[in-house]
């Protein structure tokens, strides 16, 4: 069945390239709010489902791109394993293709690695409708350019993902979260100090005056870390981290524009007009900061840049203001690279105006 579907997709892509008709690749639409707006004929990959191969002892799983994230996570959990980058789903229907295309990682990211770090291989269609495989199912592979990892966070601009192979990791034996009262500045300092010590830190966030530290590993190691760091043990920790990851936490329940700032983990809190401490949520040990603010987009971009990072309008920000302006040479290079996969610019092509490409 998958073969028939792939052949159909190939036909659609070839025809689209021949006629230069834009396509919009659909997983399930769960992340429609956070990716650049694109228009074109829908190309639905949600029928391409199922786990192709899963060998727990190899720490590798290969899935079709339309497979719901939740289905894969359940299959991994049954074997005591997980996707260590802790991807947000944003909806029960989220697919792996959409998750990879958006390149989204959760609270564990600074300690375990990003989604792209766990992509071992992909099977995909380029603009010519060619069925291509890059990377593979093994841990180490430097044959050819790393086109598999390049697909992570490409928003489907380079083609249609058909199958993805991920490295998976064992679930931790124990997990405990402790909460301490600290100012944002003190929390940033603390998160970084702790990350420089051999502790089983697996998440560190600051919200509303509280620093939340999650430790994962053997029971003994987690207990030792908690004793070392102090603070009160959080009882509903799993729900807390889910709420942070899925943006269900009260912080995100706002009609105000929402920004994501990717900053050096140690950067001081940027000053933004009209935003106070309560308008910030710090995650990723200081490297990812969420901001609720009406400040002009140019001001947010400038503040992020001054802090050594960059900002992205996540919600409630006009499409043409969401992304920072990239240096011209980098922008041209990104354009040429997109064209190397998709010469007729049929895939999610309006996304090209954003995201620096």
């Amino acid at each position: 069945m998958a073969d028939g579907l792939i052949a159909e997709l190939q036909e659609r892509v070839r025809a689209a390239t021949a006629a230069a008709t834009p396509l919009v690749i659909h997983g399930s639409g769960s992340k429609a709010f956070c990716r650049p707006t694109v228009t074109g004929e829908p190309l639905d990959v949600s029928g391409l489902t199922g786990i192709v191969d899963y060998e727990p002892t190899e720490l590798v799983v290969t899935v079709r791109a339309g497979t719901p994230l939740a289905e894969l996570q359940a299959a991994l959990a049954a074997e005591g394993q997980m996707l260590a980058f802790e991807p947000p789903a944003f909806a029960a229907t989220a697919t792996l293709g959409g998750t990879v295309a958006c390149g989204l990682s959760g609270p564990r990211r600074p300690y375990a690695g990003a989604l792209r770090d766990f992509v071992l291989g992909v099977r995909c269609l380029n603009g010519h409708g060619e069925d291509l495989r890059f990377g593979g199912q093994v841990m180490k592979n430097v044959a050819g350019y790393d086109i598999a990892r390049l697909q992570a966070g490409a928003y489907g601009r380079l083609g249609v993902l058909l199958e993805i192979s991920f490295k998976v990791l064992p679930l931790p034996e124990a997990e405990t979260t402790v909460a301490l009262e600290l100012s944002p500045a003190a929390a940033i300092e603390r998160m970084n100090r702790l990350a420089g010590r051999p502790l089983p830190l697996s998440a560190a966030a600051h919200i509303d005056g509280g620093l939340y530290l999650r430790f994962s590993g053997s029971a003994a190691a987690v207990a030792a870390a908690c004793a070392d760091c102090g603070g009160a043990v959080l009882t509903d920790a799993a729900a807390f981290w889910t709420a942070v990851r899925e943006q269900q936490h009260d912080f995100f329940q706002t009609g105000r524009p929402l920004w994501r700032l990717s900053l050096p983990a140690t950067a001081a809190m940027p000053a933004i007009d009209g935003a106070d401490a309560a308008d910030w949520l710090i995650d990723w040990g200081g490297a990812q900061r969420w901001l609720r603010a009406e400040a002009p987009a140019t001001a947010v971009h400038a503040a992020a840049q001054a802090a050594g990072g960059w900002a992205r309008g996540w919600r409630g920000v006009a499409d043409d203001r969401r992304w920072p302006v990239q240096p011209a040479a980098l922008q041209q290079l990104q354009h040429r690279l997109k064209a190397a996969f998709d010469p007729a610019a049929v895939f999610n092509h309006e996304a090209d105006a954003a995201g620096g490409t």
């Binding site: 495989r133 050819g144 350019y145 990892r149 590993g217 003994a220 983990a265 040479a329």
Partner: protein, 499 residues
Amino acid sequence: MNATAPHGNTTAAAGARLGEVIAALETLLPAESVIVDTEPRRVYECDGLSAYRQLPGCVVLPNTIAQVQAVLRLCHEHRVPVVARGAGTGLSGGALPIAEGVLLSLAKFSDILEIDPLARTARVQPGVRNISISEAVAEFGLFYAPDPSSQIACTIGGNVAENSGGVHCLKYGLTVHNVLGIKFITSDGELIELGGQTLDSPGLDLLALFNGSEGMLGVIVEITVKLLPQPPVTEVLLAAFDDVGAAGNAVAAIIAAGIIPAGLEMMDQGITRAAEDFVHAGYPRDAAAILLCELDGIAEETRAQLQAVEQILRDAGASDIRVAADAAARARFWAGRKAAFPASGRIAPDYYCMDGTIPRKCIAEVLERISALAREHELEVVNVFHAGDGNLHPLVLYDVSQPGELERAEQLGGRILEACVAAGGTVTGEHGVGVEKINQMCVQFSSAELTQFHAVKAAFDEHGLLNPGKAVPTLNRCAEFGRMHVHHGQISHPELERF
């Protein structure tokens, strides 16, 4: 091994262009940074794969980013190819020079620019040796994780270009997982910055693409790496097996138990004996294979894992299990593994190191296939490898002074890599394709995939001036290589005529 001038209509024309570039270089750079005399150029004629040699047209050793830009602009203008070089320890001929080209050495870019202990990052120049980073940050309780066996010599720029691994990559990741940003110069001399102090960047992830791109996409002039806290406790186990298959199964069983060792290495009898005779590490000479397993982390966790691993090894049929009692014993256990390559030099005049990666479950089966192929080619192969990652390093032993042996060794190497691909693996796990495995790329990839690689290259380097002829074969070359390869169940290159 034969040098071609990919951009000239003729070698003479390419030589003339090179001459113009050399003349201009001598005004652009200080005299000592341009090497044109034959003898000093010889130093650069090969990398760690010394069977391939080519004298470069000239060698430049710039020491500022502006100089690198000027060199690349000049070469771009005159369409002269450029090969970047770090320490030249590469094992696939990636830094093999071009006769009518410029060899650009990054040796003078050897400074650690900045260490930020709180942010756990270091900003370094590409010519910095891998081990110097860990040495420089040790006082902060930090280290740089990827540790190729060549770490005292190889450069961080070369590591990024090859996406190098090492013994500790099983737990801590490859170079790509430990690099936060780079600055590179495009083939036409533009400076571009990717990433830096943040965990991600807008746009396509060019940083991921750059890791392992073998100097084909740009010349790296600065790198920001991630540093990790040093683990407080380390344990090393040595297990002996009477049967290679049982050792292979033990590897899978450790991983299946949810344990990710810091390192998990395997050595077969041939290399165990050679290493033992060389460094007297105390290895059992009669074992069919030995496993070295390193566990590290917090005391409580490491102790629990150590017990679990001992049990697994025993269940898997280990005939002898030893735990290193102290740092000196740990160093001794590792000494043999670390000296494995030079040790093989004691049992044969020459060796040829392969680098295929396979699913762990196929270790025993592929090792058996390798012995069969070795018998067929009348050569000996010994195996020492990153078992936890399934990354094989079969060492084909030969004697270059015996007529035909080098050719047979190369042939055998090729067949071994094809066996790895057939087992669902890849022709190179960490050493790169370079010039060495270029034919085997035709086995692993279809012509459409190779064409896609060429398109990526062209997006960065329109005129094909950076390290031309490496890493990705042309379709014509594959057609000439021309065996009937089965690729994903299909014959590759069905559109090309067979001859």
